[in-house]
């Protein structure tokens, strides 16, 4: 091993220097950090940047925020969280937004261990360690060697910690593990949308094949003549593939222009900064390869098919498509519509689920609820802050919590009660909360009461939820004994079940204890509807007064909630776009087939007209064919969509049900669009003058 460095998670912290107090986001890094990663240093040396325990490296931006420039910042002292002074030992260039590691400051790893005693525990696996192996080291063999390393130090009967390596380049896309095995991550979305993109391209190729073969009826003469004048089959094939390549090439140019135009929109949607690497030879080569492949794929079927025409029958104008070829072409259209319908159903389900997430009753009221971080002097002044805040106009209730109610992540097995199964491994969510917690969040109490300063014994009181009650099994829980982390106490209240985490997870049993004076957490402020702006202004005023060294920051509970579902909202938007694209291209394909069929059947329609068919009956005759195709597509698409969307929904503990109307809606949407597409051709065919279509040459 060459280098190793710990790396924690991003943290907003308040800094003070040069009479400026500013919040910045950053992280902690081991000594080797700048030796391993190529973040360029504007000041300082990689070897010494994080050498000393009180060293801090700043980004160019942060250096400029406080000191005006990188040069001026170097060697200066900066105060961290109004607690400790650090010396600026390096200034690095701003981290580009495309980096998966983002930080404006980096503190020495020692500081992380100082602040987080628990991180020294061998059983803890929260922070990650980055390694650089010596050249020539076999990563697999290395990983095998360290697998059992921790077992030497950490000995627990029911718990094993094993180490493993993952290439840094893989981490961003492959980040989900299940039972120690890689199970996915962002790569799933990359794959999903790649598959959809390939399918859309395939649809387009199919359309090209369809339209070309359809057009070939008109060109049959040309082909016949060419054959008679001695064109070889190879030459014909070359001509058709050449034509396809030409079209694909034109389309590629248009697509590049479109991509360049749409890219800003896409970046805004996905919060990315993607650009098209026009100058990258690998991109150009890949793109050229794609053009070639697409051209050959879409040109090959028409080429082989058309060049196999018998020249005599072509010249006599008696060429007719075999029923096999017709079915093949219909099959392609069905395939396209299957894809479109699956995408439409997917879009419906995703949007229903997003809608459900928005409208579900979480059990607490997330509207008009503010979070204010507890930091600096606010920790010791919390009681005063609460008193002052309660007196303000527009503020209904104030409480606090050690976690984030939107997503309570802490869990423990350390809960004991009378009659507990000693082998039980059940995990309880846990948090320490302030007085008036349930009142502030507007959580209904099923039994008992809220934490209150009128009851001094509440320091040994616990509030549990209904799920926890069911588990514990007490008949009359209020007043009954409960031991939490070896602290005996009694249950004072039972709250209705709330979603204190994302809807992906089922509601967990929870134990809330009193934490009116805990040394971390956030203030919860319930404001009056419509008075948020006034409340915020007054809160800022008292915060400045009670906690002058920290800027006043806050977040809305609802915003935090929305952040839990950023990825599904993105998926929703993207699937909308893809579904639209797929249905659009499928319609082009259907139009092609309709034109082709109408042309093929001109003579038949002429005859039927002479036999007394009305325009309406002819319209029906032609549309019926396509309705059957779309119905068939719906029949195939429904179970497929059911399967895919069901497994997508299984990811949510709380979800909408798939119901028949979603399939019906998607089917009728596809049908409507298909009919609109076909009807112009059908009308044209129905009103054609039979004298014209029956004229023999």
């Amino acid at each position: 091993m060459k280098f190793a460095a710990g790396y924690a998670w991003n943290k907003e912290a308040t800094f003070e220097a040069n009479n400026k107090i500013i919040k910045e986001g950053g992280n902690y890094g081991g000594e080797d950090f700048f030796r391993m990663f190529s973040f360029p240093l504007l000041k300082g040396r990689a070897e010494t940047a994080l050498e000393e325990p009180l060293a801090i490296a700043l980004s160019k931006k942060m250096a400029e925020d406080f000191f005006g420039s990188a040069e001026k910042a170097y060697g200066q002292t900066i105060r961290f969280q109004n607690k400790k002074d650090f010396k600026v030992t390096a200034v690095f260039d701003n981290v580009p937004s495309s980096s998966s590691l983002k930080f404006d400051y980096l503190l020495n790893w020692e500081e992380f261990l100082n602040e987080n005693e628990w991180a020294k525990d061998w059983g803890n696996n929260a922070p990650e360690t980055y390694l650089v192996l010596r050249e020539g080291t076999d990563a697999k063999a290395f990983a095998k060697k360290i697998t059992a390393f921790i077992e030497n130090y950490f000995k627990e009967p029911n718990f094993k910690v094993r180490l493993d390596l993952q290439p840094f380049g893989d981490v961003y896309l492959h980040s989900t593990f299940k039972d120690g095995e890689l199970s996915g991550g962002r790569i799933q979305y990359v794959r999903l949308f790649s598959v959809i993109a390939i399918f859309i391209l395939l649809i387009a190729c199919i359309n090209f094949m369809n339209l070309t073969t359809a057009r070939s009826v008109r060109r049959a003469k040309e082909i016949g003549v060419r054959k008679v004048v001695g064109a070889f089959r190879i030459a014909l094939i070359r001509q058709f593939i050449g034509e396809a390549l030409f079209f694909v090439f034109l389309a590629a140019i248009v697509s590049l222009v479109l991509v360049a135009l749409v890219m800003p929109l896409f970046n805004e949607l996905t919060h990315k900064q993607l650009t098209v690497p026009f100058a990258d030879p690998r991109f150009l080569l890949g793109f050229a390869g794609l053009i070639l492949l697409t051209g050959v794929v879409s040109g090959s079927y028409p080429a082989l098919y058309l060049s196999s025409f018998n020249s005599i029958s072509v010249l006599k104008g008696t060429i007719r498509f075999s029923t096999g070829a017709l079915w093949f072409r219909k099959g392609l259209v069905v395939f396209q519509f299957v894809l479109s319908i699956v995408l439409i159903i997917g879009t419906i389900v995703v949007s229903r689920q997003i809608d459900y997430v928005q409208r579900i009753n979480l059990g607490y009221d997330r509207e008009n609820l503010l979070y204010v971080p507890l930091e600096g002097d606010l920790l010791k002044n919390y009681a005063l802050f609460k008193n002052k805040a309660m007196a303000l106009l527009g503020i209904q209730q104030v409480s606090r919590i050690t976690d984030n109610p939107t997503n309570i992540s802490n869990a423990t097995g350390g809960v004991q009660w009378e009659g507990k199964d000693p082998t039980s491994m059940v995990q309880f969510a846990q948090a320490a909360v302030g007085y008036d917690f349930t009142g502030t969040l507007k959580i209904p109490l099923v039994q008992g009461r809220d934490f209150s300063k009128d009851f001094p014994t509440d320091s040994a009181g616990y509030i549990i939820n209904e799920t926890a009650l069911k588990l514990i099994g007490y008949k009359d829980p209020v007043g009954k004994k409960l031991v939490f982390w070896q602290m005996p106490g009694m249950i004072i209240g039972v709250i209705k079940d709330c979603h204190f985490s994302s809807l992906h997870d089922p509601i967990r049993p929870i134990v809330l204890r009193l934490g009116e004076t805990a040394d971390y957490g956030r203030v919860l402020v319930r404001t009056e509807r419509g008075k948020t702006r006034e409340a915020l202004a007054s809160l800022e005023r008292i915060s400045k007064e009670l906690n002058p060294k920290f800027p006043f920051t806050y977040s809305f509970s609802d915003d935090d909630y929305q952040k839990l579902y950023t990825s599904e909202k993105l998926v929703g938007k993207l699937s909308n776009a893809f579904a639209f694209l797929a249905i659009f291209i499928s319609c082009l394909g259907l139009l092609g087939l309709a034109m082709f069929t109408a042309e093929q059947r001109t003579r038949e329609f002429g005859i039927r007209k002479v036999l007394g068919a009305s325009a309406r009956s002819l319209f029906q005759l032609l549309s019926k064919e396509f309705i059957v195709l779309v119905l068939l597509a719906l029949l195939i698409a429904s179970p497929l969509a059911w399967y895919f969307m069901n497994s997508w929904l299984l990811d949510y503990a709380y979800r909408v049900n798939l119901s028949w109307w979603m399939f019906a809606l998607a089917g009728s949407a596809a049908m409507m669009i298909a009919l609109l597409t076909v009807s112009l051709q059908a009308i044209k065919a129905a009103f054609v003058n039979p004298v014209k279509s029956l004229r023999t040459e």
């Binding site: 005859i607 002479v610 036999l611 007394g612 009305s614 004298v691 029956l694």
Partner: protein
């Protein structure tokens, strides 16, 4: 039965009207068997199509059983056409995707004839033209003469009072052609069906009761007993 007055049809070619039919006046009584002759491009098919209501002239008046065809509603004309007119073509124009039985049945579908009745009517036709054994075959599996028989059966199935035939024997050998002509004569004489045929053959024209000659869109002369003018 049919009265054409001052029928003219032209196509604009290069901005100038190019007359296909010029001031045609023609009366045809019910029960006639009329042959239209003339060189290629003289407007025979055009005239037949106008009589068959498949095409419209640019000028003129057309009365069918005393009713002015161009003054009636489209739907009425369609009904009149469906009930009274049967068409036979030189190229047979059978529907390739349908078998003999279905081809013959098709006109009945457009006249809302009940299924059981249709069955009986098609059965009668198959019998009459001796093609019962061929009812499940497709047009491509028949000879030209057989195809034309199916074409005639199809034209007659709805019991039209007027049969229009555009070179019905054009694609047939002389023996087959003679049989078809015999059939026409029989239909005309025994069932009183009015027949108008376009033909190039003087011999076939002789089967008719009257003959007109077209030249450059005009009627040349009236041969045989001049009933109408």
């Amino acid at each position: 039965m049919i009265a054409l007055q001052h029928i003219s049809k032209w196509y604009n070619i290069g901005g100038k009207p190019n007359f296909v039919l010029k001031d045609i006046n023609l009366n045809i009584q019910e029960g006639e068997f009329l042959s239209i002759m003339g060189p290629s491009g003289s407007g025979k098919s055009t005239l037949l199509n106008i009589i068959g209501m498949l095409d419209l002239p640019n000028e003129g008046r057309y009365d069918f059983f005393g009713q002015s065809v161009y003054d009636m509603k489209e739907k009425h004309r369609q009904d009149l056409y469906k009930k009274n007119i049967g068409f036979i073509f030189q190229a047979y124009h059978l529907i390739d995707e349908l078998n003999v039985y279905e081809n013959i049945e098709t006109p009945l579908l457009y006249q809302n004839v009940k299924s059981s009745e249709r069955k009986a009517m098609v059965g009668d036709m198959l019998d009459r033209f001796n093609i019962v054994g061929k009812k499940d075959l497709f047009p491509s599996q028949l000879s030209g003469g057989q195809q034309q028989l199916v074409g005639i059966a199809r034209a007659l199935i709805a019991k039209p009072r007027l049969l229009l035939a555009d070179e019905p024997t054009g694609n047939l050998n002389s023996k087959q052609g003679e049989e078809i002509m015999q059939l026409f004569k029989q239909l005309n004489e025994e069932e009183g069906i009015t027949i108008i045929q376009v033909t190039h053959s003087e011999k076939n024209a002789e089967y008719g009761s009257r003959k007109i000659d077209l030249l450059d869109g005009r009627i040349q002369q009236h041969i045989k007993e001049n009933i109408s003018l």
